[in-house]
């Protein structure tokens, strides 16, 4: 197995951050999106507190447009780990029938960002652990591990606190919160290597399999249910595809692949010339898209 010493170093750093943050928190929560990074983060949290159970709940922001397999997987995790998963949906957004297909950026704002903010306010969470990584996107590459969010959850990237050695500063005013990213320094490759090394269970969508898809500009969208409208001349194909990242199914493209197990995925990823988030439509609507979302409270 490759690069054990690096994985050990990254794992050690992440566990230490989780413990350090938990120790100073009043009402912490772990953001659980059901994706591979969340699965790794959850695995690290389990390790951090072993032999005790994870001492905080998981929070899933449900847009109601996730892949079906993600919902099934969530149920399994809940059962197997006896995990306390809090599910939150922005119901006023749901009533307005805000749709990821017709208006993806409004959908992300209302059903993800707004929902997350509502959930944090409602439960009065103060320390929010998340699985974001710095290698994912340019504005994330600039963010601190312990990221202070102001009142109303806004992020001020121009004025971040210094973060020295591993001496995190967990002091804040009452109306501020912390977003804490224990796997900030992991790359996509590290995440896959770690999943392999630790035998972490992940959603089946990550593995190549014949699935009903439509081809749009060379990438493939899963026709997961009958809410997915086909364009003129579009046909449902059965292709062997896999997903590098998971979000709302109409906004997340898969790639054609034969990699059906972790070793094959790792091998194939090395040759892929597109970045991991290239399949995420929500990143592409504006050039500073992620930064703008983060300033307003997105993860």
């Amino acid at each position: 197995m490759r690069n054990n010493s690096l994985l050990k170093e990254l794992e050690s750093e992440a566990i230490s951050i989780i413990r350090d943050g938990f120790s100073r928190s009043l009402n912490p929560v772990l953001m659980y999106s059901i994706g591979k990074d969340s699965s790794v983060l959850l695995h690290l949290a389990i390790k951090a507190f072993y032999p005790s159970p994870v001492p905080f709940p998981l929070l899933h922001i449900d847009t109601t447009w996730k892949f079906k397999e993600m919902y099934t997987f969530k149920k399994k995790v809940k059962k197997k780990l006896k995990a306390n998963i809090i599910t939150y949906t922005n119901f006023s957004g749901l009533q307005k029938k805000i749709d990821p297909i017709k208006n993806s950026s409004l959908h992300t704002d209302v059903m993800k960002t707004e929902a997350l903010k509502q959930a944090i306010d409602h439960h009065k969470f103060d320390f929010i652990f998340g699985g974001a990584r710095r290698d994912e996107e340019q504005s994330r590459s600039k963010e601190r591990i312990v990221s202070l969010r102001e009142k109303k959850h806004s992020w001020d990237p121009k004025n971040q606190r210094p973060e020295l050695w591993s001496l995190f500063n967990f002091h804040k005013n009452q109306d501020q919160t912390f977003r804490i990213f224990p796997i900030s320094n992991w790359t996509e490759r590290d995440v896959w290597d770690y999943i392999l090394k630790e035998n972490i269970k992940i959603v089946d969508l990550y593995f190549a399999k014949k699935r009903p898809v439509v081809n749009r500009d060379g990438v493939f969208f899963l026709v997961d249910d009958n809410r997915f409208p086909l364009k003129k001349n579009e046909k449902i194909l059965f292709k062997s595809v896999r997903f590098r990242t998971l979000g709302c199914y109409p906004l997340t493209a898969g790639i054609e692949s034969k990699a059906a197990n972790l070793k094959e995925i790792i091998k194939e990823n090395k040759k892929i010339i597109f970045s991991e988030r290239a399949g995420r439509l929500i990143d592409l609507d504006k050039i500073n898209s992620m930064e703008i979302k983060k300033k307003h409270g997105y993860f």
Binding site: S12, S23, K142, P157, W165
Partner: protein, 609 residues
Amino acid sequence: MSSLSQIKIITCGSVDDGKSTLVGRILAETNNIFSDQKDKLKILSKRYGTTKNLLDYALLMDGLQDEREQGITIDVAHKYINYKNKRLVFCDSPGHVQYTKNVVTAASNCSVGIILIDAAKGILKQTARHLAILDFVGIDHVIFAVNKIDSINYNKKKFEALKKEVQKIFKDYSFKSKFIIPISALKNENVIKKSTKLFWYKGKSLLDQILAIPSKDESLNISYITVQHVHRPNNKTRHYMGIARGFSIRNKSTVFVMPSKLKNKIKNIYFDNKKQKLTNTNYPVSIETESELDIARGDIITLKEDSIETGNCFNASVVITSQDNLYAGRQYLMRIHNKETYITVTKIKKKIDFNNDDSSNLKELFVNDIGEIEIDTNDTIIFAPFNKVKELGAFVIIDPENYNIVAAGKINFALRRSGNVFQSKLKINRVNRLNLIKQVSKCIWFTGISGSGKTTIGNALEQKLHKKGKFTYFLDADNLRLGINKDLGFSQSDRVENIRRIAEIAKLMTDAGLIVIVAAISPFENERNFARSLFKKNEFIEIFVNTPLHICKTRDSKGLYKKAAKDNRMNKIGLGIDYQIPKNPDFTVNSETQDLEQLTDEIVKKFFY
């Protein structure tokens, strides 16, 4: 089993010396840019680029909107590269002086520092400052990359002259290794591969030099666990969690808990979802001990009783990371490993001079200053000098008022003063004195802006207490400035010292049994809190004289408001400007709406019955 190891590298240097371009170049040449990212870069280069028709690689680093629009780097970008079986983490940091705090942030976790200099411009002030910062945070290996060597036509003589300059400023520092390498990031000369245009240069290319640096050797001759978290899954069990350092600790080993030095025995060791026989170096563990002793976050578990020192007074170096200066005499919060405590900066000894300023008689350090200070800590600190064990000597200073990080610091050595100054045990104490004169001593502290009526109310209150047969004393800040505080002016640091002295005098007098009334503007929450911290609970009463500014201005008994209106340069703290409204005063009065008689009656009723 091939083992990938990690090297963390900071790139720094003055504005426009090509830091972001260099990292962008390395990303591109090592095939670490995805094609969709390259497409985005093309769009960005067209819109914001400064390199004509070439791709502007700096825009890969400068990921924030403001950075692109202003064409500068504001905060650190983290880039991860796999190259020849190494993980290289580049922390690309800003060159502008106002973002120096972000350079310190980036440097603190790196082991290699690259300082870029523009071959045509040479060494600038920021170059020297960044070198000092790399030294400060404990970076081992420093590479000077003389960039834009193409702009001096790959000229050997010019490079050699610059090299001499660099060696001159290098001389004062003892890094483990020092290199000076000519490159052109823009033209890709001597960055990845050796350049034929630099045929006269005998050393390695920049990237090969980085790879050739030996990975850090962290063998410690001590063994410890800093307690990060005490986990209590139920009321019977306690798990002490932290990273194990040095050689392993075995199950059933006898250990000592610092600073109490109490002996204990390891009962269980857990990590990696298993019960284990011994700890794993540099890996997070969770342990249970035989006896339930008081072990808290910030304590240290160690194998030998005397392997780690403790102390209360320290000589330390700091770099200031906040616009709020660091003041001598002021109280702050400190985090060192997992321990937090209040500290007082007792002395500012010196500062590194980048501007040839006069550095005698220092009372404060300003943002970006690097200096040497002395501190007293409220709690006993377990520590090691930074140059011996980084983790046990590095600290941050936090402003308890707004929670900004005021400074990064490192302990140089403990001062033995605390061991030499003994508190003499006296036979007659406060209680004896209070019994004799039959009163409860107190300190009534009036705070408020100039002209709010502190002295008037204080006077009336003292008269009333005097009539009741109480022993009192009135400390008026203006009067004290005629005597004991004669040497102090009105700068921020002098105001800090002014209040410190008044508070200490008030403390002595209450100890003597008196009811002390203080009237002082005391504009800063920090100093008022410091004053409170000297007294016993309920002994210190903070009264905020909250009179509206326009009333104070019309009163203007000392003529200060008129004077300030005429003189722009006058220090206006206390004249309604920069006065920090008390957050939790014990009592608030308003001399505009309340009658003096009624108001003092209320104070007496509330605090003297």
